[in-house]
Structures are given as structure tokens and as C-alpha cells.
């Protein structure tokens, strides 16, 4: 699929005759990156599917107000991150459990998830990531799995690059410690 530039997509979206077409292109262009970002936070496909649909509906409702101060994908990532974190908080409230209990449930849910085919090390890695504080978890996922630059992560999470580097360093240290059992 040919990738369209942010400018092209926004121009097409601003014209009423090509609005739906442009939005369809946008969804197809960004759905996988955003889905996997959300999935790594929520782990379960059904939850991720709910959230990713809500993300794109928010994008549909607010894209006309996008001023282009940041890159489109940064803006989309920010919406996806906020939606996923809000979803986790709601899930915690609905289930009347603490975050640590919820994380335990999420990790143990991987055992019966037909859409998770990882081995023991991969499961242990997910457990280790779940044990991190939310911000460390987000930074680790975005840097380690998504291969994003510190500058991009800083823009999405509204953090300083120095702080991000320290956060990532702490996350890697904790995960290594968990995996090696030290």
C-alpha cells in the first residue's frame, strides 16, 4: 500500500468530497502501528480491538482540529496511549481490584490466550514489563519494541529526553533483574 504524507491525508480529509476516502487511507496507514502499541499495553486482543476502534473514532471527531504542531503519527500515538491507559483504569475500577492484581490477571491470562503464541521466556518478559510502573512500561515498549527515537517518545509522552533515557535505563535494569532472577 502506498503511504500518503500527513499533508496529503489532511488535505483530502479537509475536503468534504474526499473526507471518507482520506480517513480510510489514514486508518489503513496507521492501524497496525497503533494496534500493536495498544496491544502491548493491554495484551488481550478483544480489549485492544475496543480501544483501537475508539481511538480512530476520536481521530475522526478531532482530526479537523489537528493544527499540525506535531507530526500526525505523534498525535495519533498520544491518543492511543491515553485511551489504552484510561481503559486499564476503567478495567481496574470495574473489577474492584488494585493495579497489581490486574497485572497478575493480565499475565496469567496469557496462558489461555490463543492469540499469544510466545514461549516461556516471552511470557516472562511480558510479566516483567507488567511489573514496571506505567510510565516505564510505556517508554520501554516504545523504545524496545517500536524502535522509536527518544525525541519522538518525548513528544508523545510530553517528557524530557534526559528523563526518558533514565526511565528507559531503569526499565531495562528491572526487566533484566527479573529475567535473571537476581
Amino acid at each position: 500500500m502506498n503511504e500518503f504524507s500527513d499533508k496529503e491525508l489532511l488535505e483530502k480529509f479537509s475536503a468534504e468530497s474526499t473526507k471518507h476516502y482520506a480517513f480510510n487511507l489514514l486508518v489503513r496507514q496507521y492501524q497496525q502501528r497503533l494496534y500493536w502499541h495498544v496491544r502491548r499495553i493491554l495484551l488481550e486482543h478483544d480489549d485492544s480491538n475496543d480501544v483501537i476502534q475508539n481511538v480512530f473514532i476520536k481521530v475522526w471527531n478531532n482530526l479537523a482540529n489537528f493544527r499540525g504542531d506535531s507530526q500526525l503519527f505523534t498525535w495519533l500515538y498520544r491518543i492511543a496511549t491515553n485511551e489504552a491507559i484510561s481503559f486499564l483504569k476503567q478495567k481496574k475500577r470495574r473489577a474492584f481490584v488494585s493495579f497489581s492484581d490486574l497485572e497478575y490477571e493480565m499475565a496469567s491470562g496469557l496462558d489461555n490466550d490463543v492469540l499469544f503464541t510466545g514461549d516461556q521466556i516471552q511470557k516472562k518478559l511480558q510479566e516483567a514489563i507488567l511489573k514496571l510502573p506505567t510510565q516505564q512500561r510505556l517508554v520501554f515498549n516504545m523504545k524496545y519494541f517500536d524502535g522509536m527515537k527518544y525525541e519522538e517518545i518525548a513528544e508523545i509522552l510530553d517528557l524530557s529526553i534526559g528523563g526518558l533515557k533514565a526511565t528507559y535505563h531503569h526499565a531495562v535494569k528491572k526487566i533484566t533483574k527479573y529475567l535473571t532472577g537476581n
Binding site: F23, Q31, W36, H45, I57, F116, Q122, Q126, L179
Partner: protein
């Protein structure tokens, strides 16, 4: 100022070079160090290699259907929100809360219907209370007589006449009594 700093720095360096290193390492430490580091690296789980393949997957054709699902939701979101609310209630995650709410509702209905059925016993009214009641002020005796069913008066008259004869009672006596 710069020259002064440089001279100070040089002096410090000279001082350090001249000073004997007070820290020692075990014999052969630096010969063994590279292999020790490599052993440590090898003992760590190689999650770099392990995560090269994404352990998560999605249902078949998911990313082909997703844009259509989103487009459907956007077109339905323009309509009143009640149908989507009801549609959301059909999700399995709402089964327990809905079931619980239904049970509470049923319990409330049963409770209220029982309250209605249990009629409180009426308080007994004394004769005095009845006599003093304003209820009888507007009581129409003619209306009451009209409600009494007409009986066979001839039969009643015969038995009454027989009774008077048997007991030797004069009608004038009754008239005086009244």
C-alpha cells in the same frame, strides 16, 4: 582565567601521576575479565532473539475488516446513541452486572407486591364513636328501607295475629306501649 585553570589542571595531573595507585586487583584479573563478562552475558536469557518474532497475533483478516468496522461505527455514531448503548449491553462483560441488576429489580418488585397484599386489620369502632360520627347526619332512612327486599307480608301478618291470640294481647295494649 583560562590559563590559570589549565595550569591548575596540569598540576593536578602531575600530582596524580606522581601518586602511587593505592588500589590493587587480584593477580590475573584483567586476563580473566573478558571471559567472565562473556559468561555473564551468555547466562542471561536471550530475549532479544526471543522477541524477534511477535508472540501476539490477531484473528485472520483482522486488519482488512478493521477499517470497515470503524467506518460502520462512525456512521452509526451519528444516529441517536441508545441503540449503541443497548448493543454494548449485549457484550459478555456486562452479563454479570446486568444479571445482578435484574435480580435486585425482581427482589424489589416481589417486596413491594407483598407489602400491598398484607392489608392492615381495621381498628374496631365502638358504639359511641359510631353514634357521634357525622356519617349518620346525611343518612337517608327511606333509602335504607328501599334497599330492604319486599317480603311476603300476608304470611307475616297471620303469624303475628296468631301470636297475639295465643298470648291474649289486645292491640290497644300495643298502641299504648308505642
Amino acid at each position: 582565567m583560562k590559563i590559570e585553570e589549565n595550569s591548575e589542571e596540569k598540576a593536578l595531573k602531575n600530582l596524580l601521576n606522581d601518586a602511587e595507585n593505592s588500589f590493587k586487583v587480584p593477580d590475573g584479573y584483567f586476563e580473566m575479565l573478558p571471559s567472565k563478562i562473556m559468561d555473564k552475558i551468555d547466562s542471561q536469557p536471550d530475549f532479544n532473539k526471543s522477541t524477534e518474532v511477535n508472540p501476539f497475533s490477531v484473528p485472520e483478516g483482522y486488519f482488512e475488516k478493521l477499517p470497515i468496522q470503524i467506518a460502520d461505527r462512525i456512521s452509526t455514531s451519528a444516529k441517536p446513541s441508545i441503540p449503541s448503548f443497548i448493543a454494548n449491553l449485549k457484550r459478555p462483560r456486562f452479563a454479570i452486572p446486568i444479571g445482578f441488576a435484574s435480580l435486585v429489580l425482581i427482589a424489589l418488585v416481589v417486596l413491594f407486591s407483598q407489602k400491598k397484599l398484607s392489608v392492615q386489620p381495621e381498628k374496631e369502632i365502638s358504639y359511641d364513636e359510631l353514634e357521634n360520627s357525622s356519617y349518620f347526619d346525611s343518612f337517608d332512612e327511606d333509602l335504607l328501607l328501599g334497599m330492604v327486599p319486599i317480603q311476603n307480608t300476608e304470611a307475616a301478618d297471620d303469624s303475628l295475629e296468631q301470636y297475639l291470640l295465643d298470648n291474649n294481647i289486645e292491640i290497644s295494649q300495643i298502641e299504648n306501649e308505642l
